[in-house]
């Protein structure tokens, strides 16, 4: 893997590639009588692109929401291996604490701060790294002022990587869909995450836009070295860019392995193409 020399490394983890980064074990999530996730287990290695695929309603987004703390699972646990060698349970933490441990995410339906500019959105990605001192902010004191510049420099690296220069001062609500998706990726990347969770970054895009987005995701992975968990529907994209694939169906893991292995898995073929297609 070639990692470009950045003044500010965008990868928040110094773990060498291939080491276990995130472990999901026996994760169960029920909404009343509906079981969204049933004893899901998976393991994400650092420095990899790990795809989660599955038919609609398979529980992919629920899994991501459990990891990032938006849902509290009924059972099981999610453990993040931090840089310092600690194992942190994410399952009992609120989303803002999970974010502080270096887990960043994007959303399936764009959830940008629509009235804010691209810059402001990305500066919010720096929130966990910034001090919030109300008095210093109101008086525009040196520390508050300098802090804005320091973190702006990190944001500029992200803007550079994702080629968002032309949109810095535009309110994101006015931008085209594809650009908004990229801003969302950038906002998450500005957090200098140890793990980046992307929920369908290519949803609703045409082939060309998908190619662009796939390229940006690969850049984030290869140039910045960030570990990525990715939910995606388009099998071609998944097969092309991911190192490892976990397949969910009806809240259960039905396949796990390299893209080639998963393609061969009869249960996966059945889930996607229907019973009888495997033979």
């Amino acid at each position: 893997m070639r990692t470009r020399a950045y003044r500010h490394p965008l990868n928040g983890s110094s773990m060498p590639p291939g080491r276990p980064l995130l472990r999901v074990s026996d994760l169960t999530l029920r909404f009343g009588g509906v079981t969204a996730l049933a004893e899901v287990g998976m393991s994400v290695d650092s420095g990899r692109i790990h795809a989660i695929i599955g038919p609609n309603g398979a529980g992919k987004s629920s899994l991501l929401n459990c990891i990032s703390g938006l849902y509290r699972p009924t059972g099981g646990e999610v453990v993040l291996h931090t840089d310092s060698g600690q194992e942190r349970r994410l399952t009992s933490l609120p989303p803002n604490r999970v974010a502080r441990l270096g887990v960043a995410r994007s959303f399936q339906n764009i959830e940008l701060f629509e009235h804010l500019t691209v810059l402001e959105n990305m500066m919010l990605g720096r929130h966990i790294h910034m001090r919030q001192n109300v008095l210093s902010a109101m008086l525009w004191l040196g520390p508050a002022r300098r802090q804005e510049i320091t973190h702006r420099e990190v944001v500029e690296e992200v803007i550079d990587l994702l080629k968002l220069q032309a949109y810095r001062q535009k309110p994101v609500g006015t931008l085209a869909y594809g650009i908004q998706k990229r801003v969302e990726l950038g906002r998450a990347l500005a957090m200098q995450p140890a793990l980046l969770l992307l929920d369908e970054p290519m949803a609703g895009m045409n082939a060309e836009e998908k190619e662009d987005m796939a390229r940006y995701i690969l850049d984030v992975h290869e140039l910045a070295g960030v570990s990525i968990v990715l939910i995606e529907h388009d099998m071609n994209v998944v097969m092309d860019i991911s190192d490892r694939v976990t397949v969910l169906d009806f809240g259960r893991v039905i396949g796990d392995g390299t893209p080639a292995e998963v393609m061969e898995n009869p249960r996966v073929v059945e889930a996607y193409l229907g019973a009888g297609a495997a033979s």
Partner: protein
């Protein structure tokens, strides 16, 4: 960002951080400063009193806009919060003999604390439900102010002695002029600190909570802390406005802080522009001037249509309602946006865009 600024390229982040970049901006601010400085010498006491009322309203509206416009937490409790500030300073100055600056500070702190308590429901409630919760706080505060005899010593009102700051006492003859200077300086400080807030991390987290609270928490924003900070900060400004109102009017009673006041302040930020410090000031000036203008119209047209002056309060209310409806339909982003469009128009002239 207004379109006029396109084509401006900064060579350092510091230059981009400045509040005013272009020559027209600086000239406008200078003209505004000159106008503000000349005002007390050209206006008579009647108009200066209106200016002073508008300045106090501007402080309160900036405070309310921090909560409603910037953080998206709707509040119908403005009147009650103003009352907390006003009664705190009035009672401390009038009865305990606390020096005015200290009692105003106490009012600010206490109103902020009340804001945190009233803000607690905001951790669970949004939108209309929060509006009802803050409405409840308005009712509770006014009920306490009305019925707790201790506050007004059973009189129903509190007299506040003439403002005295470190031996400097406001003169009766130049009352309005001196107050104008004091209020102008405080309003400028309030506007500046509020503006600063929203170009830093703290203010951005407020706006993030307004636009997408789930995404904000996924970015590491602590929703509980952010909302309560917004309530406290907003109320600190509102408490300041209430305290100044008490010292300026020198007599306060619960009637000055009813639900009407809450709605009037909401109207100010709707008309001025939600989520804009300048907008809050425009709105405060506009809504303060509105009844004055209606009265002038009634005087002028009194000969032709005597019904105007006979039914003056009705027409004032009608004008108020009409203004809000017109703004909501034609320019929901308020006077601030209209002003921006005017600047754009002349910036691009003779082209359309």
């Amino acid at each position: 960002m207004p379109a006029v600024e396109t084509g401006r390229h900064h060579t350092s982040y510091r230059s981009e951080q400045r509040l005013w970049h272009t020559r027209p901006q600086i000239v406008r601010m200078a003209l505004l400063a000159v106008a503000a400085a000349v005002l007390p010498f050209v206006l008579d006491n009647y108009w200066l009193a209106i200016a002073n009322t508008a300045l106090i309203a501007a402080i309160g509206a900036i405070g309310l806009n921090i909560l409603v416009g910037y953080t998206g937490q709707i509040s119908l409790g403005q009147g009650g919060f103003l009352a907390v500030g006003a009664f705190t300073t009035a009672i401390l100055t009038d009865r305990a003999g606390v020096p005015a600056p200290l009692s105003i500070l106490a009012a600010v702190v206490l109103t902020a604390a009340v804001g945190v308590i009233v803000g607690l429901p905001a951790l669970r409630l949004k939108g209309l439900y929060l509006a009802i919760a803050t409405l409840a706080s308005q009712m509770v505060i006014i009920f306490i102010v009305r019925r707790w005899g201790f506050l007004t010593e059973g009189q129903g009102f509190v007299d506040v002695s003439r403002l005295e700051v470190f031996g400097f006492r406001i003169e009766r003859t130049t009352f309005e002029q001196q107050w104008y200077v004091i209020l102008l300086v405080i309003t400028i400080l309030v506007a500046l600190t509020a503006t600063n807030l929203f170009r830093t991390s703290v203010g951005r987290s407020f706006m993030a909570v307004r636009d997408q609270d789930i995404a904000a928490s996924a970015m590491g924003v602590n929703l509980t802390r952010t909302k309560l900070t917004a309530f406290a900060l907003s109320n600190a400004y509102v408490g300041l406005a209430g305290a100044l109102l008490a010292h300026y009017t020198e007599i306060i009673s619960w009637e000055k802080f009813t639900i009407d006041v809450s709605i009037t302040y909401l109207a100010m930020i709707i008309v001025g522009g939600m989520g804009s410090v300048a907008g809050a000031v425009y709105g405060a000036v506009f809504i303060t001037l509105l009844p004055v203008v209606v009265r002038m119209l009634a005087d002028v047209l009194g000969g032709v249509a005597p019904v105007l002056s006979r039914q003056l309060p009705a027409f004032e209310h009608a004008a108020f309602g009409l203004v809000i409806i017109v703004f909501l339909i034609f320019e929901p982003r308020g006077l601030n946006r209209i002003w921006q469009r005017i600047k754009d128009y002349f910036g691009f002239w003779p082209f359309r865009y």
